[in-house]
């Protein structure tokens, strides 16, 4: 099934007036896509999902499944499956009744639906829990049961509303794998909502980055990481996040742009220098792995205020006149907190944003 959303708009009325949660968004999802909505809380991603689910009625715009208009169709007639943040297993039913509930509403005989529940439970490796009540299960087991419930009736698409946000880090990884396994098995579109960009980056075929009721950019994880179209996406995607320096264009010719950052000239290689003009206010974006530290040599200067371990590498935070800069370092570096140090930017790996619109204007050849 394909899902097509066009000009979707959703307003809520509140005592203090109308709130626009989603404002005119468009996208389409192909058969078998793992499509993720990512963005900060309150950006409209869950509202959009709920419109697709049929749990909310859009104020305007349309939702089509395989070309057929579903906008006004109630949730129970859309043949979708949804996982909720709070798991939403029915506490008064045994696990097997929970898993087979979608079949019960489809009037499948008891015997047959329990057999199907057993199959789904086998896939999720929770067969021994079928006779228990949800309250007797651990968090991870509950998620497995909820996942089993989504696959039992062969839905046209899977909708997942932050299903992992209440789990601890280890369980998250485990259930994440299960979700992907289910997705690969059924080859139906999955829409996954999360505020965690890392989750989005590791699981998705394509990602829509939401902000303030709209979509900032849609693309594959690589596209979003390497070619963000605006500063919001550049900042949101990637951890530790990108550094930004405000500056003014001094010179622009050929493949070179010279930006004056806090009175110091920084020379950058870009793919298209005609996109900027002398005197333009720009923001230079550079990822923490593309900044070099040196005790003597570099364009910018600052003091190391923090060194912390992030997995295999270390992350140094440097305070200077140009603002705070995050730099990744190998674990065996010799730098110490409190040192005054010089910084240089990897000139071929920067993104240049217009300081007014925050849209990207050009970028280095090696981003």
């Amino acid at each position: 099934m394909t899902i097509e959303v066009s000009s979707l708009r959703k307003e809520f009325s509140s005592p203090s007036g109308t709130i626009t949660a989603v404002d005119g968004i468009d996208f389409s999802i192909d058969e078998g896509d793992f499509f993720t909505f990512v963005g900060p809380s309150g950006c409209g991603k869950t509202t959009t999902l709920r419109c697709i689910a049929g749990l909310e009625t859009p104020t305007s715009g349309s939702i089509r499944f395989d070309g057929e208009d579903m906008t006004g169709k109630p949730a129970h007639k859309r043949n979708l499956a949804m996982m909720f943040q709070n798991i939403a297993l029915y506490p008064h039913m045994k696990v097997k009744e929970n898993i087979s509930y979608p079949l019960k509403v489809r009037n499948v005989p008891k015997q047959e639906r329990y057999e199907n529940a057993e199959e789904a439970a086998d896939i999720m490796q929770i067969r021994e829990l079928l006779e228990k009540y949800p309250g007797e299960l651990s968090g991870g087991q509950q998620q497995r049961a909820a996942l089993a419930r989504t696959i039992v009736h062969e839905p046209e698409a899977f909708l997942m509303d932050e299903p992992l946000s209440d789990l601890d880090a280890k369980l998250k990884v485990e259930i994440r794998k299960e979700i992907q396994r289910v997705h690969d098995r059924v080859e139906k579109p999955t829409i996954y909502v999360t505020h965690d960009q890392e989750e989005a980056m590791t699981m998705s075929d394509r990602i829509a980055v939401f902000n303030d009721g709209g979509i900032e950019q849609i693309g594959t994880p690589d596209e979003l990481y390497q070619r963000p179209t605006n500063r919001f996406v550049a900042n949101f995607i990637g951890n530790p996040s990108m550094n930004f320096f405000d500056g003014t264009v001094d010179r622009a010719s050929g493949e070179t742009v010279v930006v004056s950052v806090d009175g110091r000239d920084v020379e950058l290689r870009v793919v298209d220098s005609t996109a900027v003009g002398v005197g333009d206010e720009v923001t230079v974006g550079v990822r923490p792995e593309d900044v070099r530290l040196d005790r003597n040599d570099g364009d910018l200067e600052g003091e190391i205020t923090l060194i912390e371990r992030i997995g295999k590498q270390m992350l140094a935070t440097i305070e200077g006149p140009q603002g705070e800069v995050r730099v990744t370092l190998p674990a065996d570096n010799a730098y110490e907190k409190g040192e005054v140090i010089r910084l240089s930017i990897e000139t071929r790996a920067t993104h240049l944003f217009d300081s007014g619109s925050n849209d990207v204007v050009t970028r280095g050849p090696d981003v």
Binding site: P74, L80, A88, Y133
Partner: protein, 306 residues
């Protein structure tokens, strides 16, 4: 160091108490090592209270089981000197007890049925549908519950007589329902607030219609509330006196409460019949509450697992 430890222990004991169990004045006092005198005093108070509650019931049963001619003996003994079912036979054969009993049953079944179903639907609607001024509505409902019944009964008599509901079972059921409904609605409202809406949404995503999601998911989860409302409305109906006294003028329509009272204000007070009828009146109430109590507790267990 010892001071720190001391404080730490006190803190942890306070924390434990607040986290583990509700605060109970009796255990609290004994845990804190108050004097034995306190405990004795409290226990004495409890025995006294228990006596005040239990003795009338005991006396009721004891009197009902005496032969009629021994009821007025002075001095009276605590336990009957001879047992007899004479009073019960007289109540059945010599009074309108069977009629009153039937009337009370009709009233109770009607009130329990109407109150439980209406409270459930109203409570559900209040939590699931966006109704303007919901809070004001709730306050007004509870305010209505605070009125003394006699204040409601008089205007009700006027209305009911205009629309021909005086002396009718339907009229009485509606009138008593009106006194039980506010609390019922309020209780169900609170219960449905604790049923997460995502459970019904999840059922709808599974393919259930909104009504089915209510019926199969929300309603079973609010079952302890439904049963609490049933018990409460039964108690209201079975014990209703003021309203039936006023809007059921004819004696063949009286429920037990009014009927038994009338035993005492005829030419003489038929204490034997009053007590026997009272005992028989208590039995259905006891059975009803006892039967439902099991489900009430079961419901709380399920709720506790959420």
């Amino acid at each position: 160091m010892s001071i720190r430890n001391d404080i730490g222990q006190k803190w942890s004991s306070v924390k434990q108490r607040t986290v583990d169990k509700p605060w109970n004045p009796l255990t609290h006092l004994s845990h804190q090592g108050r004097s034995r005198g306190w405990n004795l005093l409290l226990n004495a108070l409890l025995v006294l209270l228990l006596f005040v509650v239990i003795f009338p019931i005991f006396w009721m049963v004891s009197t009902a089981l005496r032969p009629t001619d021994m009821i007025y003996n002075v001095p009276q003994t605590l336990l009957p000197q001879a047992f007899s079912v004479e009073n019960f036979v007289n109540t059945f054969e010599g009074t309108n007890f069977p009629t009153y009993f039937t009337n009370s049953m009709i009233l109770s079944v009607g009130v329990v049925g109407v109150t439980t179903s209406m409270s459930t639907l109203a409570g559900y609607g209040l939590t699931r549908i966006d109704i303007p001024h919901k809070k004001t509505f709730a306050r007004i409902i509870l305010f209505g519950y605070m009125f003394p019944q006699i204040l409601l009964a008089i205007p009700m008599f006027i209305f009911w007589s205009r629309i021909g509901l005086i002396n009718s079972h339907l009229g009485l059921i509606l009138a008593v329902t009106a006194t039980a409904l506010p609390f019922g609605i309020w209780l169900m409202w609170k219960f449905f607030q604790n049923v997460p809406i995502s459970l019904e949404e999840s059922a709808q995503m599974a393919g259930a219609s909104p009504f089915r999601a209510f019926y199969e998911i929300a309603l079973p989860m609010a079952k302890p509330g439904v049963i609490a409302v049933a018990i409460f409305s039964y108690a209201t109906a079975w014990g209703a006196y003021t309203i039936p006294r006023i809007i059921m003028p004819t004696s063949e329509n009286w429920p037990l409460t009014v009927g038994i009272h009338m035993f005492t204000i005829q030419k003489q007070t038929l204490w034997g019949e009053v007590m026997a009828a009272s005992v028989m009146m208590v039995i259905p109430a006891f059975i009803f509450v006892f039967a439902l109590q099991k489900y009430l507790l079961e419901g709380f267990e399920v709720g506790g697992q959420m």
